[in-house]
């Protein structure tokens, strides 16, 4: 029987939060904004700068703290989400969190983490999509609904918590241990279940499993399996031939490393695309052409790899990023192992792509 323990930790998935500046000089504002970039990914939540209120938190001058804090309190954010940036020899207003200018990135990060801790638990809220949290979403591209569960699972796994978490979507409950990338279930991941997950257009809930649910899983002796296979299928089928908004449509993509094909359902086309992208950054069009696949298949592959944080976005060089061109019809030069591998594959009875 699978043995596990439920840890009573709070769900701490990164949220997408906003920070506004108020009544600061341009230099101060730029410093704050550059510091946000500096510690991107190192704070408990993902913070982005917004020009206008409302925002999750506000940083302002000492002289305007009282009014800004009052506004934050009135808006329901709480006055503690407002902190002051103090110039030299300036005293902090009574009751204000403050930061001395010029602010060090780590000090700003510490304040923002403290604010994160004071914001009400995210545990039972709908998970935000990565497109929203990345701050790099393309406004003209909407995330397909079929990708929502994949995004929720990606964010949960990224956090790596050791507790058991439950994802509820379209009447399906998935229990996942992010730290071990384990899915606890006795159900088979059949087509019906996949179809329901891909059709999850209502709210998706991600929360720690309750004590009783965890005990039931233990009593039922559920089996543990790697969640990677499910995540990959959600990526391939859920992307619907599109790219996640977090990925630029005309970007050049490379793989940071090979996907673990020992744990995911794949075909030879995926292997071929992986072999290309581990050697060189390519656009979607280039990848499709080089691998002999359809553009939609190339996008599906990149989307699935992105769910595993395997995608590296590279600058697009003018000479290496041609627009879509007709496939090459000319003779391909002879290669050292030309024909040998096909012969070996045939003899060993490899499955066709």
């Amino acid at each position: 029987m699978l043995r596990y323990r439920l840890e009573q930790e709070q769900l701490r998935m990164a949220r997408s939060l906003t920070l506004a500046t108020s009544d600061l000089s341009m230099a101060q504002t730029l410093l704050i904004r550059s510091n946000l970039k500096l510690f991107e990914g190192k704070t408990r939540d993902h913070w982005t700068h917004v020009e206008t209120l409302p925002a999750t938190a506000t940083v302002c001058s000492a002289s305007s703290w009282t009014s800004n804090a009052a506004s934050m309190k009135a808006s329901g954010s709480g006055e503690s989400a407002c902190f002051a940036l103090l110039s030299k020899d300036e005293a902090a207003p009574i009751g204000a969190s403050s930061l001395a200018y010029p602010a060090r990135a780590q000090d700003l990060a510490a304040i923002l983490d403290a604010i994160s801790g004071r914001i009400s638990s995210f545990a039972t809220r709908e998970i935000r999509t990565a497109a929203q949290s990345s701050g790099r979403a393309s406004p003209d591209r909407a995330q397909p609904r079929s990708f929502k569960v994949a995004l929720a699972l990606r964010e949960l796994l990224t956090h790596g918590s050791r507790g058991i978490y439950c994802i509820k979507a379209n009447g399906v409950e998935l229990h996942v241990v992010p730290a071990t990338r384990t899915l606890l279930t006795n159900s088979s991941l059949d087509e019906n279940l996949m179809a329901r997950l891909l059709a999850a257009d209502a709210e998706i809930l991600v929360k720690p499993a309750s004590d009783s649910a965890a005990r039931k899983l233990e009593l039922d002796g559920v089996s543990a399996r790697h969640v990677d296979g499910l995540l990959w299928r959600l990526g391939i089928d859920g992307s619907r031939g599109g790219l996640p908004p977090a990925l630029p449509r005309d970007g050049c993509y490379a793989l940071k490393r090979w996907p673990d094909f020992g744990r995911i359902p794949h075909d030879r086309l995926h292997v071929r695309m992986a072999s290309l992208l581990t050697r060189k950054a390519l656009t979607v069009d280039q990848l499709a052409n080089a691998s002999g696949s359809e553009i939609e298949d190339a996008r599906r592959f990149i989307s699935a790899c992105w769910l595993f944080d395997l995608i590296d976005i590279r600058p697009r060089l003018a000479q290496s990023a041609p627009q879509s061109k007709p496939r090459s019809t000319g003779p391909i030069p002879a290669r050292r192992f030309s024909g040998v591998f096909d012969s070996i594959r045939s003899a060993l009875g490899f499955r066709a792509t």
Partner: protein, 191 residues
């Protein structure tokens, strides 16, 4: 036209599954030179390959793919260079239940460096279900320390399909390297 022969190497530490992998795809009963393992401190495996394993696959036109399993013990490392000469590629198998599987991988990637550096290697990590640590990230990091980017995949070499997967990945990698080489020649475009 004379028949051609191709050579594929399976290497790795004792008990990593080289003999099993060859048996999974060879069309002949593998010729194995297993004897009692006198080095039980390093591996619980009752027997080990002291010389080499050999299997083969007949290809179209009578060509042969010859499968060689190297002895796993480092004292036989003089054979590694002999075997790797002219090989299509090398399959490095790692047993994740051993005390330091990452070091094992580094040892064999280093031993077969000339083949590995030409992107003609693949690493299969076995027993990662029962021994999940170290994870594949640790293997990738270690490979990068050697300036090597190579596929590192979880496998169970008792399953023929897994062995075929390793070979498919190895072949795809070599083919892509050749495409890239040709694409860098004047007049050839990858797209």
């Amino acid at each position: 036209m004379s028949q051609r022969e191709y050579k594929l190497i399976f290497t790795g530490s004792m008990g990593a599954g080289k003999t099993t992998a060859i048996a999974a795809i060879s069309e002949i009963t593998p010729i194995s030179t297993d004897v009692d393992n006198s080095d039980r401190k390093l591996s619980d495996k009752p027997s080990t390959t002291v010389a080499l394993d050999y299997g083969e696959v007949t290809l179209a036109g009578g060509d042969k793919l010859r499968l060689y399993g190297t002895p796993g013990q480092a004292r036989f490392d003089f054979m590694w260079n002999i075997l790797s000469e002219g090989a299509i590629g090398v399959v490095v198998l790692v047993d994740n239940s051993r005390p330091d599987p990452v070091a094992d991988m580094k040892e064999y990637l280093t031993a077969f460096r000339s083949t590995v550096s030409e992107s003609r290697a693949v690493v299969g990590v076995g027993r990662s279900d029962t021994h999940p640590e170290p994870g594949l990230d640790a293997f990738h990091d270690a490979a990068l320390e050697l300036d090597v980017v190579t596929p590192i995949i979880s496998v169970d070499v008792r399953r023929r399909q897994d062995v075929l997967m390793l070979l498919d990945i190895l072949f795809a990698q070599i083919e892509s390297a050749e495409i890239e080489t040709h694409s860098e020649q004047p007049g050839f475009q990858i797209a």
